[in-house]
């Protein structure tokens, strides 16, 4: 049935809380801010409901009923996480996730029902979850600006964050500006346009904007999570590879696959040549259940006419960067405040070290972090907006990729290609060495000078040039932090420093743009 396309929602004259990003973290933040009585606007680069890692993939949650199981779950993650977690946050996240998921059930999320007749609520299917979140956000009176990527923050004269500006990319890149009493960054992590499932919207824009306002990051060395995907595509869903046999070009088994897709042995084999997978360890009676659990794992294989249970198919490892790594903007206080007043952070835009330390939060912890940090950041932003007077004037804070300092002419495509050459290959980023890191940094640091001098806004009002600048900044934070951790811990594998150094069980902060610093 044909329908007239709705006109794009107008940008309001001002708002109390501006949420940037409309995935789980952004939608939970918007709901919390609205519940606190704030007028809320949510701007998404794409469409709130399909944007981001969760919508395209799905979310297992870190979801444990009240009781002794929680203590056990926390202890298990602490043991794996390399000593970088904080227990109080983990306790809080388990509590908040439990409550939030009960709300989802009340709102009608179609959870599966177990044999005992109870709903099982520990897993959320992405499209269903985010469609429901959009409905709730709309019902809460939040103004949603779709296809409206933010490109820079607005600052008050005293440096307090006072809004953001961006482009409406379905209106020829027309600029929008919105003054706000507080801003929540829920813009996701940075996956460097690697093509990993649903992650091309995650180019680190939020961290660039925040760093321009002076915000700190943490854990950027833990940015080297790779997802496994069929080599022809980008379906980075790893769970079903627990049933795989991995073989090399000759058909020789390369590794015991019992550890699943994170298996470093398989990644090392992929450095040597093509690697293939066949899910031949899946008992026939499980195969239908596998399909219903992860339909979009099987969909691309079906479309290619590949039966993954009987035929081997080539696989590759695709960088998921900080999205399923743990680095991001440093959470500096309760309410997920950043180190900049008026700026709050949620989801993958934030460092998740508090809950998942040095290991990937993909596959459950990130999903629960998004829910929890979103709720806390939204509530705290609403409070901040009430308690602080609005400035009479603001100034836009964006520089690289939008306001070049000189004449130049470097193109965003060139920047992106160079960044990708240095961060996408397993050989550079998964298996790191001091020499490799220094070599990449010398090129990337020098390119930053070219970018600040000469990368101006692209035809879409700066969207793509800002993405390029954000990716370049991330690559530099990531490798500078990796050098500052001469050891292997969690996600970071330093081939020149195998093993963890007990004296380095602490987080590494980083920041800066022209000059990048790190500190313990």
């Amino acid at each position: 049935m044909p329908r007239a396309r709705p006109r794009a929602t107008a940008v309001p004259p001002e708002t109390d809380v501006l949420v940037l990003g409309g995935g789980p973290a952004g939608t939970w933040a918007a709901l919390a801010a609205a519940a606190a009585g704030a007028r809320v606007t949510l701007a998404d680069k794409g469409f709130c409901g399909t944007s981001g890692a969760a919508a395209a993939g799905g979310n297992n949650l870190w979801y444990v009923p009240p009781g002794p199981g929680r203590e056990k779950a926390i202890a298990a993650r602490e043991a794996a996480a390399g000593g970088l977690t904080e227990r109080a946050w983990m306790v809080g996240i388990l509590e908040r996730t439990w409550e939030a998921v009960a709300q989802l059930a009340d709102w009608g999320y179609p959870f599966p029902v177990t044999e005992s007749g109870e709903q099982y609520r520990g897993s959320l299917q992405g499209p269903e979850y985010l469609r429901l979140m959009r409905r709730r956000v709309t019902r809460a009176g939040v103004v949603i600006l779709d296809q409206s990527p933010a490109v820079e923050l607005l600052l008050a004269p005293d440096g307090v964050v006072a809004g953001a500006a961006g482009v409406r990319r379905q209106e020829g890149g027309r600029r929008w500006e919105l003054r706000a009493g507080a801003v929540v960054l829920a813009t996701g992590g940075c996956a460097f346009l690697s093509g990993a499932l649903g992650l091309n919207v995650d180019t680190g824009d939020g961290a660039l904007m925040a760093a321009e306002a002076g915000a700190e990051l943490s854990g950027m060395e833990f940015s080297c999570q790779y997802g496994i995907a069929p080599a022809f595509g980008a379906q980075t869903k790893g769970l079903m590879y627990q049933f795989a046999t991995f073989t090399d070009a000759d058909g020789t088994e390369v590794a015991d696959s019992s550890l699943g897709s994170g298996n470093v042995t398989v990644q090392r084999a992929a450095l040597r040549g093509p690697v293939y997978a066949r899910l031949d360890k899946a008992p026939p009676d499980l195969r239908e259940r596998m399909r219903w659990s992860q339909p979009n794992f099987f969909l691309p294989l079906d479309k290619m006419g590949i039966d993954p249970f009987t035929e081997r198919f080539p696989v590759r490892f695709v960088l998921e960067g900080t999205v399923r790594g743990t680095g991001g903007l440093r959470v500096a206080g309760t309410g997920c405040a950043t180190t900049v007043p008026g700026l709050f952070v949620a989801g993958d835009a934030a460092s998740r070290e508090l809950v998942t330390g040095a290991v990937t939060g993909g596959g459950s912890h990130n999903g629960s972090w998004a829910i929890s940090s979103g709720g806390w950041a939204g509530a705290a932003a609403a409070r901040f907006a009430t308690e602080h007077p609005r400035p009479a004037v603001t100034r836009p804070a964006g520089e690289a990729g939008i306001r070049p300092r000189g004449r130049g002419g470097i193109r965003h495509e060139e920047v992106i290609a160079t960044v990708q050459e240095h961060v996408l290959p397993l050989a550079r980023n998964r298996f790191r060495t001091e020499n490799g890191l220094r070599e990449s940094l010398s090129i990337l640091d020098s390119m930053w000078q070219d970018v600040v001098a000469g990368l101006g806004p692209d035809a879409e009002g700066g969207l793509r040039s800002r993405q390029a600048a954000a990716m370049l900044a991330h690559a530099r934070w990531m490798y500078t932090s990796a050098l500052a951790r001469p050891e292997s811990r969690g996600l970071q594998i330093r081939d020149d420093w195998p093993g963890a150094d007990p004296g380095r069980a602490h987080r590494i902060r980083t920041g800066g743009l022209d000059k990048i610093w790190t500190a313990a």
Partner: protein, 121 residues
């Protein structure tokens, strides 16, 4: 990547234009939308999920399908039931049951965890 927008099936609702997270489609006045920026497609299949007319086919390739590929052949894809496939799995559309009600990820995550505990990290 998105390969086919079926003019026969499309009802000009422009939902794909609205929901694409990477802004691949352009609306056209009084006509079907067009695939305007295929290179930006991230192969997330969500336009297939949202299309009420099962008019879209996203090939599972990260790059454009090679010339002559069956993945661009509308008639062959239609005959093979390839339109609207993701929407069917999700159980979206009138009279369907949400696929999430058959989600058994809990079983597979528990199984993986047990395997990892057996063999160490």
């Amino acid at each position: 990547m998105i390969e086919v927008l079926s003019g026969d099936r499309c009802v000009d609702c422009d939902i794909c234009v609205e929901v694409c997270p990477t802004n691949v489609f352009d609306a056209v006045a009084d006509d079907h939308p067009v695939i305007a920026r295929q290179a930006d497609c991230q192969t997330c299949f969500l336009c297939e999920a949202y299309c009420p007319a099962d008019a879209l086919f996203v090939a599972p390739l990260s790059d454009p399908a090679p010339p002559g590929s069956g993945l661009t052949d509308e008639a062959a894809l239609a005959a093979a039931g390839r339109f609207g496939e993701y929407r069917r799995w999700l159980g979206w559309g009138k009279g369907r049951t949400p696929g999430s009600s058959r989600d058994e990820n809990r079983f597979f995550t528990a199984r993986l965890r047990a395997l990892q505990e057996e063999t160490g990290p």
